[in-house]
Symmetry: C2
Subunit: 339 residues, 2 copies
DNA sequence: TGTTATTCTGTGAAGGTTCACAGAAATATT
DNA sequence: AATATTTCTGTGAACCTTCACAGAATAACA
């Protein structure tokens, strides 16, 4: 039965069929008390008979609540952001919120404004920003969001923005210290693009940890998070003539590429070079060899950010703060004691 | 400036400030002709001054169009579905549509109904279903969607559903035939879960291709798409005592796990065993060795499905059909001639 | 100059729901 | 039995737009 836009059924239709007023039907739908058992049954029967579904748009207009959250992502192709988004969706839905997503290719105020224009206008009750890169200041953000409450995931650690972050400094410190503890002294670094907060944090913390041991990286390369670039990075580092016994890599994909390059050069892991990654993607345990890396709790990130955002929506006086989660080191076979 | 829900600005406010009627303001916003240059300027100035943003919810109510598409996904954690979603988002946005996502954990009619209830009610103009698994029949789907036009991505090949699919049979045939062409005769298979359309197609086509050569798989294993399970699969196959010179694997992640297991057993790739994957994830080129696999055009899938869906929304008489895209074989170093 | 076509602007209604209020019916209290 | 309380139900307005229509102003034409 093609059901050719058959005049949408409204409260009034249900009301008429069940012989009550539209308001009573509304009460039934919203589970208000003060509706007698008898009429409630009649109304429910009518709803079923007509296959009535409340018009959520009209409801939003009346209540000024859309029960929809917006999420703005930058780079859904990366593992981190896409995981965060999946977890935000789960958390939102479990609270009765829908999620509308908008990916952004270049993080400029202009692009952000377009998105907010698109998502604003009562379409979303709040915004989750998964834009872990530099580009827009907090003040700009507040202006851009035009009064829509927002929470940023993976913002700059210490930033005065409503946000939920993973302490990547700590994570990177774990990784670097791990190598130091194994006796490594000549350590090289492949970092992520330094317009990413995470890359900065990991990089600076790596530096700081080395410095505390009186060291500095023997050489560095700035990659773009991909396996492809990690591959080039490692080749480049080796070509530079520097020698190193350990390699700190900004994420697991780049680590994979680097491992491939090292293999090509006949360098054994971990015998000749130890290597740590970052993220603990599910595949990392099956790299050759299994990768020592830093695990991030993306699930927690999603859950916490939605909880925070919803509390801001419910009560605009929710104090601004930054929630910090802590990563853990997962030691596998890509690192070993320097002999 | 905390901007404490400062009474939303409406058409009427703008109208008052610029000394015209609300209707004229509406015309300006919607770029209707027949509004004089002069008043248009006045109105635009007022809009800027008040920082007015049209209420999209009210607009939706009036136009009965939300310009939002819904996407129902099953398993965003998998590479395929998450890629499809990203591409659907891009395609939707480029057409001025927002995208609301709903992930589903168990593909039952019940769960689907909940989602449609959540997304229905004029909230979305159409639905993209990325639910590449068995569970709901076409008839059920039509009923469930309650008149909302929908397109299914990666449905069963040949299914009489509005859909856009990749011909995975063809892809799997390419992979299997490639191994046959290299002289392999003892071929094992690690397939995906057989409640996935793709897994079925790849599996059956693998079988058919072997059969055409007078062969059948020496042994098989049904995995769950993860590297972890691919790892177990390979160990299991080897433990079974069967010998094989080539391995057809249902996706790249499982291939990764399998490669790891083979390495552990001292089996060299491709010297001792050739191996093909499926998907061509970006990392596949950096596996050890780089993986021969089948590339799927997820971008095309997203683009085509949105185009199709939008045309259904604009014209309900759009004929139902299934668009089929074709994958390609990417030969790398994990396969070689049998000596 | 008068008539017709074109451009511009405003009014009333509708879209489907919820909120605020008030009236009616049932129940409890004195 | 009369009153106060609670439970139940209905009416009008509001949420903010767009659509359909019609009236006013301007331009084009004879």
């Amino acid at each position: 039965m093609p059901r050719r836009t058959p005049k949408p059924i409204t409260l009034h239709d249900v009301a008429e069929l069940s012989g009550v007023s539209y308001q009573t039907v509304s009460r039934v739908i919203n589970n208000h008390p003060y509706v007698s058992k008898d009429t409630r049954h009649r109304v429910l029967a009518a709803i079923r008979e007509l296959d009535y579904r409340p018009n959520r748009v009209a409801r939003s207009l009346a209540t000024r609540r859309s029960y929809t959250l917006g999420v703005v992502t930058f780079g859904t192709n990366y593992y981190g952001p896409s995981q965060m988004m999946a977890n935000v969706e789960r958390a939102a839905r479990s609270r009765g919120y829908n999620l509308t997503v908008a990916n952004i290719d270049t993080l400029t105020p202009r692009a952000m404004l377009d998105i907010v224009d698109q998502l604003g206008g009562q379409l979303v009750d709040g915004l989750v920003l998964i834009t872990p890169v530099l580009g827009i200041s907090y003040e700009e953000l507040v202006t851009l969001c035009a009064g829509i409450p927002f929470v940023m995931i993976d913002a700059q650690l210490g930033a005065r923005i409503p946000s939920v972050v993973i302490d990547q400094r700590y994570g990177s410190q774990l990784a670097t210290q791990h190598l130091l503890d194994l006796g490594h002294r000549r350590i090289a670094e492949i970092r992520g693009p330094l317009n990413w907060f995470g890359a900065i944090a990991r990089h600076e913390s790596c530096l700081a940890t080395l410095k505390a041991a009186g060291l500095e990286p023997v050489c560095q390369y700035e990659g773009n998070w991909t396996a492809e670039d990690g591959y080039h990075a490692a080749h480049q580092l080796l070509d530079s003539g520097a020698t190193f016994s350990a390699l700190v890599v900004g994420n697991d994909q780049m680590a994979l590429g680097a491992m491939r390059a090292l293999h090509e050069r006949g360098i054994r892991i971990p015998d000749d070079v130890s290597l740590v990654g970052f993220d603990d993607i599910p595949e990392a345990a099956y790299f050759e060899p299994p990768l020592t890396t830093v695990r991030q709790d993306f699930g927690g990130l999603g859950e916490q950010s939605v909880e925070y955002l919803v509390s801001m929506i419910d009560d605009p006086d929710t104090p601004m703060h930054q929630r910090v989660l802590h990563p853990t080191l997962v030691v596998r076979d890509s690192t070993r004691t320097l002999e």
